[in-house]
Assembly symmetry: C3
Homo-oligomer: 155 residues x 3
């Protein structure tokens, strides 16, 4: 198994693995929060999901949108739009041989910003709290992409 | 090419590559199913997509939502929300040196659950079929994340 | 840092890193374009985002959908649906030891097709411009998946 553990023995890669797993688990948590609000607010989108509430009209009234459900779903989509580039570019960045301290700085700020973003979206906090945390995460990914392109450039 | 084939020579990584390619192709299939329903149901969202049906009002009536199209789109988004974490965490898991048999168990259950989930969503099957298949895939990704964090932990 | 730079020393992997960073940055650009249209069209979705426009009814009228905003958002989601498979399958493909020239052909066509797709969506160009560029990118990812499965196959 020597080959398979080479990368995981590298400290920068271990840091990447840790922060990526944490931020992807955070993103997965959005599914549970959506399910929680759908069930407590009784707001579903698929007819088969309301079957347990009875037949016909009595179940149909639960096929509706709810502001809280929609808010979590927007947070989830925003996660997808921002965490996917982090995971992809972060992997290339981790393999580009950065200093461990610099890499840790990038990963910590990104993951911290995305956790703050989720709270800012769900509470919700007044702007520009959410906007700024989005911009911080965005900038971190951009900074990593810059190093990847500088190191790997081959068009 | 020795360097580039190191990883692909590792059996766990080969298994990861196989199942990841399959489940990403399955996700891509959702685009084709959406296109199929948009064309057969004549339900489009972009004005330029209905231009071949004529000008003005005659084309405008095809700018509408259709329950079948929306259902496939929800299945597609659910794939994105669940397959993205699998691909990211699964890569780190495959590099963390698990036993081949354990890794195969994780990959097989995840991909099987997501294929079942697609059928459960599109047919649709009565609940809790879709919910359970979602939970199975979710748990597999969670189990892989646990091993990644235990092996790589570096905050 | 020898270990961490092994992959990045491989030419196919460097090409993959370059094109992946470019296409992920292009996808991230969609967030900025969405923000631009939201601000210039004054079309927001979260109440807290309109607080700077005043209180109560005067701010509420900016909680609305705008065709241009929705168009960019559809382009962004289409990017997610297509660029995620490219990044995942492309990584496995780059590690499967293809010829550099073949790999470059795949990466260049995909990234070119997705950049064209964005212009075709946002201008918008008449169909089948957008549809064809989507199909070209889709086919490239499919071709890479075929090689991955042929090389790595282990079920």
């Amino acid at each position: 198994m020597a080959k398979s553990t080479q990368l995981i023995d590298n400290e920068v890669f271990r840091a990447y693995a840790t922060y990526t797993a944490i931020v992807l688990l955070k993103m997965m948590l959005m599914s549970l929060i959506t399910a929680y609000f759908r069930i407590t607010r009784k707001a579903f989108v698929n007819p088969e999901d309301t079957a347990s509430f009875g037949k016909g009209e009595s179940a149909k009234k639960f096929l509706r949108t709810d502001p809280d459900v929609e808010r979590v779903r927007r947070g989830h989509l925003n996660d997808l739009e921002n965490i996917v580039p982090f995971v992809g570019i972060g992997l290339l960045y981790a393999l580009s041989g950065p200093e461990l301290s610099t890499a840790l700085l990038h990963f910590r700020i990104f993951v911290g910003a995305r956790i703050f973003h989720t709270f800012a979206y769900l509470i919700p906090l007044p702007q520009p709290g959410r906007g700024l945390s989005w911009a911080v995460g965005y900038s971190v990914t951009f900074s990593m992409a810059y190093r990847v392109l500088k190191t790997a450039w081959l068009l």
